[in-house]
Symmetry: D2
Subunit: 485 residues, 4 copies
């Protein structure tokens, strides 16, 4: 089966019996018609449809190595810089279509699977059977073009205690039985973003494990269908309040939903278990297979699209209300331009300076991407919304709704809300978009998402420093000190 | 009639026939029972009730100079530092009760009226009749304990053009007829915050006027009942989504509502017109009467209460999830403590260094308050929410609702969402409060409100510099340069 | 002997035989004539002379409780808010005279001694004899108007190890013998700022001590004359390059000098030992006597003067080169105004909200001053210099010297370096002042001094949080959460 | 004559009769032996010698198109990405050798000349003779390997007035006579950095000119030898205080000197005049020839080397004093790593996405470099020094000198200033380097240099916005708004 269409995606979604809890209610069928999921499901369907759009299918697909049929380009195992560029061109189509607001487009985890599937030697270190399972699973996902979610963060009762020790070890997802035909898992993981609208849930190693018996129950990598018996998703309330595209231009399209995943003795058959009880392999899964690099390549492609969108948004607002000529406005537009160009350069440089790993996968340069993923959440993401708020100011506070413009008194609004360069409806549409990007609850959740996407910035910084070769820079300091002594 | 109770406030509100447009609907009665207004109206009623609470009535009221009956302390015309302290003690009760999230508690504009009413000589410069009207109006407001809203910002078609010139002068509220018994006004003003739940609307000079004939139609100060014929309020959608105090702890209580006020040939009888056609008086109204100082005194009292609340919130979160011991967490709590202490000091110093103006009103020191109102929006307000987001991190992203805890599967939540020091329900309540303070649409609107409360920070800075005596500091530089030459 | 004159101060300085090492040279006499110390010694002499200046002596002195003669007001033990105001008025004269660039004016440690001398009950906890010694010493310092330096920081071989454990405990200053008539001390302390030009060196407890035998040798408080045998000061090079007031307007006056103090078996006679072997008293010396509060009161007075100076400087520069009208310039001047007003308010509020401690000393409110001393180093000090650099820009890079204006080709300079409002000489003088305040080595050292004056900001923040009562703020959060449940 | 050696450079420098004014003195010969210039001249000589160092000459030179002899690689007119990489490899050798502290290494202006020499069609628009002169001059500079300085900023009496209008137009450098054999110029330009040690001075268009007769006298581009009669350089005092490499590790090597250039009726022969009286060509000289892109390519190469150096310095300090494990230290090292990687990516991306201009010169992508040159001065440069100051803290305040370690009392220093990982001498050397990089007068001037290198950041931002194509980003916003309407 080649790359799916939107309706194929939706049909499969509605066939599933995923157990979803939301607002005190339980949903187990027809997810795509539930108000909390229907709009974002439609946005994902739109992405799938783009795979069949003549303008984009060349970017979004490549011929399956198995069948020759078009399959998603994010499953292309890169062997050269050009392959990376090709992958990015496809990812960019989706990222731009969703203005970077969808974090879990199918290419995100497809990138991980592509790396896993291309690294059988890594999984074979745990046994040849694991390599075979991984390969088969990755191939199936590619050919069936399924949507994967994943879930990483263990429950955090007390952040001063290691993850797997929370609540005496009972809270983090762990293996309670090893059976001949599979494993049974229990516990929770937080933040299975987009899982209710996905086909599959990847459950990968989440935190650093010690090579000690106590950590064995936490050492695994597996996948389950999202409707596996015993698996429950507890969702937050939707951020889409039910308005149309005028009223909630982003929340009505891009609210991916965050959920807590609870494993109530979920059985995982052996063929879906990819690592078992090998902490040292769990700890290096992302780096040694290159999954970390390919996933980050997707993330930076997405954040670039988002930054471009904010540049377009802020500069459009400035023109609409006649402030583009002010020096402090220009400085902030210049700042956004810098961010766009920097992210663009980071992507490009990572691609041209990539190298092949031991599995023959050509990976974008990790130091470059690692800098990108440390820098963006702390230095860029918060500024995007700040700048839009500064430009819109109190003009973002009392925007009328679509219904207001349809009501009898719309003449007031048309008269008093016109702007320097456009009518009241267009100005209001633009400002509602700005509010949904920088003021609304949807905007607030996006800010959190970007800031904590990769985890605690403090730990990320430590990891960056720990993995970086400081030698050459320190040598140059030493050389200068020694030069004339 | 002495200080009102909550039920008196609500009864009067429901008797009004204010024309309110919201979500395409027109509301003209029973405002306190409309879902967009009921919860905030209840919060205002609660403030009125506190005036009769034995624990607070001593702070909140003082004996009316007219009747001896208790009336709101914000109507006390201060003659000494102690009077300022007394006013602040009362304002603080309300500010703390609403954690600083209600910007338009009755004391805000009562402070303006108190200054106006105590400065008859100012209004007499326009004619004795204006002084008499002002006095009578201020007395009536005090004795009837009415809730006032005001509205300042003219429509902003093009920010590169002066306010009264927008749309060829037709858009800003202006006088279209002067009649023997009053004036007729037309045009709009943006952001009549809280007006739909207020009794009266003050329409004061909004921007700098020139002493030129073209500016005459924009030179006025008047008041109308909020249900004056021809006056329409166009509201944004409510930020309260209908949840209870657990789900939306702030939005369900404190969403004051922002509205655009449209004057469709509203007649204002003479006794409600306080200034007419005297641009130079309009331009100095706030400074010469001291209204600016008394209003800012109220604002800083409120922002202090809000900052205290964020300190309490952030430090409670840190304890709940076991992060209080981390250095970077402590640095941010220390930062919040500094802000609390600085605002406290600014208030206190303004009070003890106050001086009497020419009308005998003892005003808090303006330079101190002017610094406070420039500093808080730019340096403090954005940090409050940033810090709460940093502490809560991804823990703010998927909080269950009250309905979830009441549903069958609540056991999952109780197990997996417990915290280091409290159960899952309490932790979730605390984190939902944090989300409503720093992530939700309510939070986003509050951020805008604080940042732009006094208008464009760029213009505010120019005004601060323009009014500040730089001489002594420059002289000291000159002295040092000249010392040995 | 009443308050000294400058010449008395200098004469005593030159009589001393302090052992000073600088630039490989040893200086043991005539310190006031050594090029590294002469200019700053003159600046201190000027402060002493101000005590006899009719314009200032009223502020700078008060009648000695012992003799009735005028002695420095910083020795006045405050009993009321008015006393605090009086102390501050005197400290302000000196702080403004030196534009805040002298950190160790005599009032700094006089404030500590005043608190110590007024708290005999504290020292009596170690034995009545300690209380008597302290009292006698403080009285003598007041009557002789001596200049004290102190020294706090132990050598920092490895910041990951506690202070007294550095180098196996041999490096920090410690007691090597207890004799019947005194103690012998060995080890080093860093940063005895201004010690080479002082009369006395206070050696006070420096870091938190445990109540354990190993910490006993580090538990003490004593004073020695700066020329005590065995005491050596190792100075950094002077930051004054020898230029006059035009070329180096600040470095030629205010380079206080930093030195490492080495105790090579220095004998301290008993009457100069104020605490011995009581870690719990050492740890609470500053807080229980109120010395911390009085010293910080002096520090904030000084930093206010410095901030005022930078406001004067930046605004004078803006006028000189015609940039005062630009919005981004005004925003930065407004920012400086805010800092001046905030520091002013912090001082004033601390004074009016002071309370008497158990020794009857009226102390400024500690929470207020503690916030001030956490906030200024991190939020204000770095901005002062940044703003001056931004205003001066490349105009600070190539300023001619006094000699250039005296040379034949001065006509070039006068023509091409004139400014919008003044001649080339005045503009250059102003810009050289700006460079010495924000660009020179003197400026760099000042930046470090302000940023690390109270020690590591991370530890300071922890101390602020640890000592602050978060209860009321947290209770208010709890109240809101419980309100309707 | 091929690429010069250091001694050839110095010999020529001492033969010149450049008129240099410094500290009231006039220097006209033996510049390399004057204390203000000798050390930096030696550093430049070292760069020239590297051209003959077997380890580097391959990077630093290429065969002259005229003679086949090795000439500096910065004169290579790039035709491909590989040529850009080759140029950068050479520039990087010099940038790293001087740790980025030398801004005016020969390759900076060689890059400009290379672009000019490769764009005869541009100069031919003013007349074929201009193209011929430019070509001949560029060839000569390449073959003689001369050191060029340039000078841009007109005197700034009043920044509110356009550059050429300062002082009624008499102050900016302008043409006073056009003769048949050349032009005579008068006026000043500020900040001819490194000119006293250069061979040639380029005088290029400095600010935007109008196509109006009044601007004609300011419309030119020419070169003169630095010792042209009538040309005077007024220097600031040296920042090197005369210490050795231990005491002043950076100032003793890299103080390039800033000077004001005064043209006192300097005659410029026709063959050195490259543009005359064509404002529209003057205004587009940098962009149309590609000189701006090649110069910025050199600048970013240099700032990358500097950032790498600060990363090495800060991380070496952290290790030396045992603070590398602290979270806030790691965050700052991570920040420096990000900056290194971003600058590296910007360079690399600009190279691989370069394009050929109409003259066939392959230029690095301008949008990328323009972002880099806006971002570095405001976001990176100030952080480099802040981080080093934070790491060193008070440990930077009292470092002993080389003479101190040679003196009798050096034992004190060796004992008390040892560090966790090295002896006192090495620790002191490292900390003195840190002080010279982040605290000294040399450091202060470097900070200014980086921040204002390209001019006023406000104007630079306006230029970036003005030249950037915002269309695609705005279109994407429009597309989203229109999607479902």
């Amino acid at each position: 089966m080649p790359a799916r269409t939107g309706s194929q995606y939706l049909a499969r979604l509605d066939d599933r019996t995923t157990e979803i809890h939301i607002d005190g209610e339980v949903v187990t069928s027809a997810v795509s018609r539930h108000p909390a999921f229907s709009s974002v499901a439609r946005s994902f369907a739109r992405l799938y449809d783009l795979q069949h759009d003549p303008a984009h299918r060349g970017d979004l697909t490549f011929p399956s190595p198995a069948t020759g049929e078009p399959v998603p380009v994010s499953f292309l195992a890169p062997r050269t810089t050009d392959d990376l560029v090709r992958r990015r061109a496809g990812m960019q189509v989706w990222a731009r279509d969703s203005a970077g607001f969808l974090g879990r487009t199918p290419d995100y985890l497809a990138s991980a699977l592509t790396a896993f599937g291309a690294a059988p030697a890594f999984f074979a270190r745990a046994g040849d059977v694991f390599a075979e399972r991984m390969l088969r699973y990755a191939d199936r996902m590619r050919e069936e073009d399924l949507l994967l979610a994943h879930t990483l963060v263990p429950p955090q009762v007390n952040r001063a205690v290691p993850a797997v020790r929370q609540g005496d070890g009972a809270l983090a997802t762990h293996i309670v039985h090893e059976r001949s035909d599979g494993i049974v898992v229990r516990g929770a993981r937080l933040l299975a973003t987009a899982a209710p609208i996905a086909d599959e849930l990847l459950v990968l190693p989440s935190t650093v494990l010690r090579n000690a018996p106590e950590d064995a129950p936490y050492s695994f990598a597996f996948a389950v269908p999202t409707d596996a018996p015993g698996l429950r998703f507890h969702c937050r309330s939707s951020l889409h309040r039910g308005g149309g595209a005028f009223d909630e231009p982003l929340a009505s399209r891009f609210d991916e939903m965050d959920a807590i995943a609870v494993f109530d003795d979920v059985f995982v058959p052996s063929e879906r278990v990819f690592l078992l009880g090998r902490p040292e392999l769990c700890n290096t899964l992302y780096s040694e297979t290159g999954a970390g690099a390919l996933m980050t390549h997707q993330v930076v492609t997405r954040t670039l699209a988002k930054t471009e969108f904010f540049l377009g948004l802020a500069s459009s607002m400035a023109e609409a209300i006649g402030i583009s000529g002010f020096a402090h406005i220009q400085q902030q537009i210049a700042e956004l331009i810098s961010y766009v160009e920097i992210e663009r350069a980071l992507l490009r440089a990572a691609e041209v300076e990539g190298t092949s790993n031991e599995h023959g996968v050509f990976l974008p340069r990790w130091e470059t991407l690692n800098a990108a993923r440390n820098w963006y959440p702390t230095h860029v993401a918060p500024r995007l919304t700040e700048i839009v708020r500064t430009f819109g100011a109190s003009g973002l506070m009392a925007t009328p709704s679509e219904a207001d413009f349809a009501a009898d008194a719309h003449g007031d609004l048309e008269l008093y809300l016109q702007s320097a360069t456009c009518g009241a409806v267009d100005r209001t549409a633009l400002f509602r978009l700005a509010a949904d990007a920088a003021v609304s609850g949807f905007a607030g959740r996006q800010t959190l998402y970007e800031q904590f996407f990769f985890g605690d910035p403090v730990r990320m910084a430590a990891a960056l420093v720990g993995s970086y070769d400081l030698g050459p820079a320190q040598d140059r300091v030493r050389d200068l000190l020694d030069r004339e002594r």
